[in-house]
């Protein structure tokens, strides 16, 4: 599969999605910003070999956070973030793949990576959407406690990884 095309498609989708979200929210400036960020990311990717794609990823994350403040368009910012994450991952994967010159090696790695990435992105999106579909009346203190526990677990696992 052509990674460049896939990446282009994902970036366009993210940019159009966020532009649509902000247009629906009557924030036309942010809609233009979304399209601008997407366009710039595609242009740089096409013209410059080593560019900092992470900045564009962070820009779309910021747009997703802002869009999430409005409660009416619930799953769309989440979808935008997931696609943005996939696009950023593919950009980094393409850069890593520059060392693999043999087409056969590239093809094997690409297929393996895309299957894995698709699984992770879909799983992440489904896990994130589930709470929106299921309505439970849980006190905020409990939610906060669970989140804090999750964060502490994450911190401990990171420390253990750093020690390794």
């Amino acid at each position: 599969m052509n990674l460049k095309r896939l990446f282009g498609g994902l970036v366009i989708t993210v940019a159009v999605l966020f532009a649509g979200i902000y247009a629906a929210l009557d924030s036309y400036l942010l809609a233009i910003v979304s399209l601008g960020v997407g366009g710039l990311w595609l242009t740089l990717d096409a013209k410059i070999a080593n560019y900092e794609g992470t900045l564009f990823f962070l820009a779309f994350v910021a747009l997703a956070v802002i869009a999430s403040l409005d409660d009416t368009l619930k799953p769309w910012p989440l979808l935008g973030l997931s696609i943005n994450l996939a696009a950023w991952d593919i950009a980094r994967f393409t850069a890593r793949l520059a060392n693999a010159e043999q087409p056969a090696t590239r093809a094997v790695l690409t297929t393996r990576h895309l299957i894995l990435l698709a699984g992770i992105i879909i799983l992440g999106f489904v896990f994130a959407v589930l709470p929106a579909l299921v309505r439970l009346a849980i006190p905020f203190v409990i939610v906060g406690g669970v989140a804090l526990l999750a964060l502490l677990t994450l911190q401990q696992s990171m420390r253990s990884l750093s020690r390794d």
Binding site: T54, L58, V61, A64, V65, S68, L69, D71, K74, P77, L78, L81, S82, L85, D89, R92, F93, R96, L97, N99, A100, E101, Q102, T105, V108, L109, R112, H113, L116, L117, I120, I121, L123, G124, F125, F127, A128, V129, P131, A132, F140, G144, A147, A150, L151, L154, S157, M158, L161, S162, D164
Partner: protein, 426 residues
């Protein structure tokens, strides 16, 4: 952990704090895809990576500009690695002609990887050939880098021309038969003298003409013995005597000349030794044959021009390490103060040949400056120095490196009679 994993963690924390501050579950939900991504990377991160690396060079000794095939075999004896980036770090100046020296691959447990490529490399001995490896998870968030140093070294010899036989006549030769006239009567080809016939002398060696003039005696022809000699090669690796530029160096020409001379003298059956006079005194002790030739080439592969203030002039040349009255061949661009040492060597009875790559013409040719006053003055100074050297009985080859060495040696040594060697002795 790398920058990207730290970024994801920071992002999760920031979004989480913003969500809590805004009391907005939608923002909190944004952390979930990022968390899934991070946990997937943690689950797939490389652990217990153990890769065995074997490297072969074909051939393991080659001359400059000869293609060398490098084969790197990797065997994963640890757990599977989602993404293994392998990069064979090439020697400085090496060019890949064919194949690839780096790759990214998924390496399953007990799986092997063959990396084959062909290179050409400049002269040198590459002892610490390294393979850099980076094992990472499929998402590129966690990586583990390690380097493998090869125990096998690649030796790239200097490329050198074939020379015609060089006639030398050192004052002293060794006991074994060879091509050098030994100035002693015995069996040989060239007539040496006559003596009275002795029992068991071959009849075909009787000098019938002289015997006919005598009344009753018979006389036998005696021929000059031909033997091998000791030849000591001295390569001048002093920085101040050489012309070094970023792209080229006069020293490379000296190295090539030394290699060619070593082969020539060894092919004649002589016992040849080498001394590289530069940072220190790198030596190859005297020896014969192909093995000695390989030893000399190996030492020449390593030779680099360098500074040692104690060895700035040739005055500290350990001539005592060369057999007395042997043939010494110095390959040096020469400095004016080197005359003293050459005189001393001649006085000690050594036969000296100096092959001197001309630094003046080398630089002038490089910069296209063959008419300036500076060039003419420098050339005149060098001519004067060379004349002084010839006067003390040194056989001199002033080699302009853009001309073939074999022609220069043939012409210049033919113009200087071998008897000059003995000028100081007689």
């Amino acid at each position: 952990m790398n920058t990207f994993s730290r970024l994801i963690i920071t992002l999760i924390l920031v979004i989480f704090v913003v969500g809590l501050a805004a009391l907005n579950s939608n923002i909190l939900a944004l952390t979930i895809p990022l968390m899934v991504y991070l946990f997937a990377a943690i689950a797939l991160r490389p652990e217990g990576v153990a890769v065995e690396v074997t490297r072969t060079f074909t051939p393991d000794r080659a001359s400059q500009d000869t293609p060398v095939t490098v084969q790197v075999k990797l065997l994963n004896v640890g757990s599977a690695v989602s993404e293994l980036t392998v990069q064979d770090i090439l020697p400085q100046g090496a060019t890949v002609l064919d194949g690839e020296s780096s790759t990214v691959i998924f390496l399953a447990k007990n799986a092997a990887l063959d990396l084959t490529y062909t290179i050409t490399a400049p002269r040198g001995e590459y002892a610490n050939y390294e393979t850099s490896m980076c094992a990472g998870d499929a998402l590129g968030l966690f990586e583990q880098s390690f380097t493998h140093k090869s125990s096998r070294s690649l030796v790239i010899h200097p490329r050198y021309p074939k020379l015609d036989r060089i006639k030398i006549r050192p004052p002293q030769t060794r006991g074994f038969a060879g091509p050098i006239a030994a100035r002693q009567g015995g069996s040989g080809i060239n007539f040496w003298s006559v003596r009275e016939y002795q029992a068991n002398d071959p009849k075909r060696q009787i000098n019938w003409r002289l015997s006919a003039r005598a009344e009753r005696e018979l006389y036998t022809n005696v021929f000059e013995q031909e033997r091998v000699a000791d030849v000591g090669l001295i390569l001048d690796a002093r920085v101040n005597a050489n012309v070094l530029t970023t792209s080229e160096s006069l020293f490379e020409h000296s190295v090539r000349a030394t290699a060619a001379l070593a082969e020539n003298f060894l092919n004649d059956g002589n016992r040849v030794s080498l001394l590289v006079y530069g940072a220190g005194l790198a030596r190859v002790f005297p020896g014969y044959g192909r093995i000695q030739h390989n030893r000399i080439l190996r030492e020449l592969s390593r030779a680099e021009p360098s500074i040692n203030y104690a060895l700035e002039s040739l005055n500290h040349l350990p001539t005592g390490q060369f057999p007395a009255k042997s043939q010494i061949v110095i390959i040096s661009p020469l400095l004016p103060e080197d005359i003293t040492m050459l005189r001393r060597m001649r006085a000690h009875g050594y036969a000296v040949i100096v092959v001197s790559p001309d630094p003046i013409s080398y630089e002038a040719t490089r910069f296209g400056d063959t008419t300036s006053l500076a060039y003419r003055l420098a050339s005149a100074e060098r001519r004067l120095m060379l004349r002084q050297m010839r006067q003390c009985g040194v056989q001199l080859v002033n080699w302009q490196v853009h001309q073939p060495l074999e022609h220069t040696i043939r012409e210049m040594l033919a113009a200087q009679p071998l008897t000059m060697h003995y000028g100081l002795q007689s």
